[in-house]
């Protein structure tokens, strides 16, 4: 992770040894005066619950979230599931950008932000306001980790997502690179281009590139875990053991949850996709 000062370094920086410019003064003043507070700093006011899982590819977080959803639903809780990079709004642009290798770290980051903002409007906020339990497979922290590993400014990407509320529980599934690689390659023949961070140009060899890129991501996740108070789960553990921990933490989050569990028929309608 770059050792940028996250707190405030938004001053206008010069290009090369550039001299003065008639417009500079006003621009600099505006840039420096911007508001740095984020909704991630305090609990959200909604009656629902927001649970996010984070971790590098192959950490097993999606599996664990699915198991949690099954448990919650069996107990009659209204569950809504939403997944990173799944909105239709930017699907074509993302596909085109990836296929033709048009994406830069900045446009990659902004397209994911559009995806998130779209899902936030239509999939996250309404169920949260409606008192449901929203399960997010990856949240804004994925952008904070991956996009910064690709080279965007850590302060900038936090500003981009400053409309995102703080989850009630963020679980970080921590796994060593080798284990994640082993899991990914067991399921398919090769790594995906962006998953391996091939666009970053760390290595022309996919496995080596994955190692280098995901190590950066992992390192940033470790820092985010402290910054945002993630609960860390050792994702090398046996699946049932991890799930038991997850459910225990979920139980704490459900303390004071104001809704009586619904009947099976009712909540079936609110399962989302």
């Amino acid at each position: 992770m770059p050792d940028d000062d996250l707190s405030d370094n938004r001053s206008t920086s010069s290009v090369g040894n550039g001299g003065s410019n008639g417009l500079k003064g006003a621009h600099a003043a505006i840039a420096a005066s911007s508001n740095r507070r984020s909704l991630l700093d305090s609990p959200h006011p909604y009656p629902g619950r927001l649970i996010a899982v984070e971790g590098i590819d192959g950490s097993g977080k999606s599996t664990q979230l699915q198991l949690l959803a099954r448990w919650l639903r069996a107990r009659g809780y209204p569950v809504y599931f939403t997944e990173w990079n799944s909105s239709r709004l930017v699907r074509n642009a993302m596909r085109r950008g990836k296929r033709k290798n048009l994406l830069t770290p900045t446009t990659f980051s902004l397209l994911h932000a559009v995806d998130f903002a779209d899902r936030f409007t239509y999939q996250i906020l309404p169920p949260l306001k409606g008192g449901m339990i929203v399960l997010a497979d990856r949240y804004v922290y994925t952008a904070f980790a991956r996009d910064v590993a690709r080279g965007v400014h850590p302060g900038w990407v936090r500003s981009v997502y400053n409309f995102a509320p703080r989850p009630d529980l963020t679980l970080y599934f921590r796994v060593p690179i080798d284990v994640s690689l082993e899991r990914l390659l067991a399921g398919r023949a090769k790594l995906k281009y962006h998953e391996a961070g091939m666009d970053v140009g760390l290595s022309t060899e996919p496995i080596e590139s994955f190692r280098l890129f995901q190590s950066r991501v992992l390192e940033i996740y470790d820092q985010l875990a402290v910054e945002y108070g993630f609960r860390t789960i050792d994702a090398v553990d046996e699946i049932p053991a991890q799930q038991q921990l997850f459910r225990k933490m979920m139980q704490e989050v459900l303390d004071g949850y104001g809704r009586t569990p619904r009947t099976q028929e009712n909540h079936e309608q609110s399962l989302g996709k």
Binding site: L102, T107, V152
Partner: protein, 249 residues
């Protein structure tokens, strides 16, 4: 007037693009701002051949015209599913794509880049749509500050007949998404009035050069050329590009 390092004093609006290798930007970035139908593209069409005749290489770039996103933005507008947040982010993505793939390479190559709208369009529109102005500005921290911003200033009364005789009143340019009223004419007037008000604020804040756009096409063009000549005259020129002496012939 010699600056062989060739940056023309360019600065990033914020942190710029930290992952890019810094390269000299000997070109010039000139922005034409102004509301819908004020005549920006007509003026740019006239500026280009004039500058080329004077020996400058010119590159154009236009709002929401990025290869990556223009189709997405058009589809999304047609589907009416955009919120102010997704709208703002799509604008920023379109801008970033053009900045990295069109604007910066052209400036590196010593071109004059004429941008039909720039981040200020997003600032004006996002604010009118209700976005937090500070957030809009944060989104564009990767931008390069233009060398000159020319703002084509017009009042709604003069604008209306131009738009009606031109391509007509469009859903978005009339701010129909803001539900200011069911009458497109009234909605257009109210929306454009707010946009123009916002532009005037920005002009003041960011030091735009305001051009009176109520005049004829030729009058506006003459004004623009006079300002551009004066800018190019005072700008530091990299080796090999034209100087003011060439221009004033």
């Amino acid at each position: 007037m010699n600056n062989h390092s060739g940056n023309n004093g360019k600065r990033w609006y914020g942190h710029g693009l930290p992952y890019l290798e810094e390269k000299p930007l000997p070109g010039h970035l000139i922005v034409i701002e102004g509301t819908d139908g004020v005549g920006r593209s007509t003026q740019i069409e006239l500026l280009r051949p004039w500058l080329e005749l004077e020996g400058f290489a010119v590159s154009n770039t236009g709002w929401t015209r990025s290869p990556l996103l223009s189709a997405t933005i058009n589809e999304a507008k047609a589907g009416h599913q955009l919120t102010v947040t997704t709208f703002s982010l799509l604008y920023a993505a379109d801008f970033a794509d053009r900045l990295e793939h069109e604007i910066l390479p052209a400036l590196q190559a010593g071109f004059i880049v004429i941008a039909d709208r720039y981040m200020y369009t997003a600032f004006a529109r996002n604010t009118v749509m209700g976005a937090d102005p500070a957030w809009s500005r944060e989104l564009f921290q990767m931008a390069l500050i233009p060398d000159r911003v020319f703002y084509l200033d017009i009042d709604v009364e003069t604008l209306v007949p131009r738009v009606v005789q031109g391509k007509g009143m469009d859903y978005w340019e009339s701010g129909m998404h803001l539900a200011l009223g069911s009458d497109i004419f009234e909605s257009f007037q109210r929306y454009q009035r707010r946009i123009i008000e916002e532009y005037k604020r920005l002009a003041n804040e960011f030091g735009f050069i305001t051009i009176d756009a109520r005049g004829s096409i030729d009058e506006i063009q003459a004004d623009l050329r006079r300002h551009i000549l004066s800018y190019l005259g005072t700008a530091r020129h990299p080796k090999g590009s034209a100087t003011i002496d060439d221009l004033s012939e």
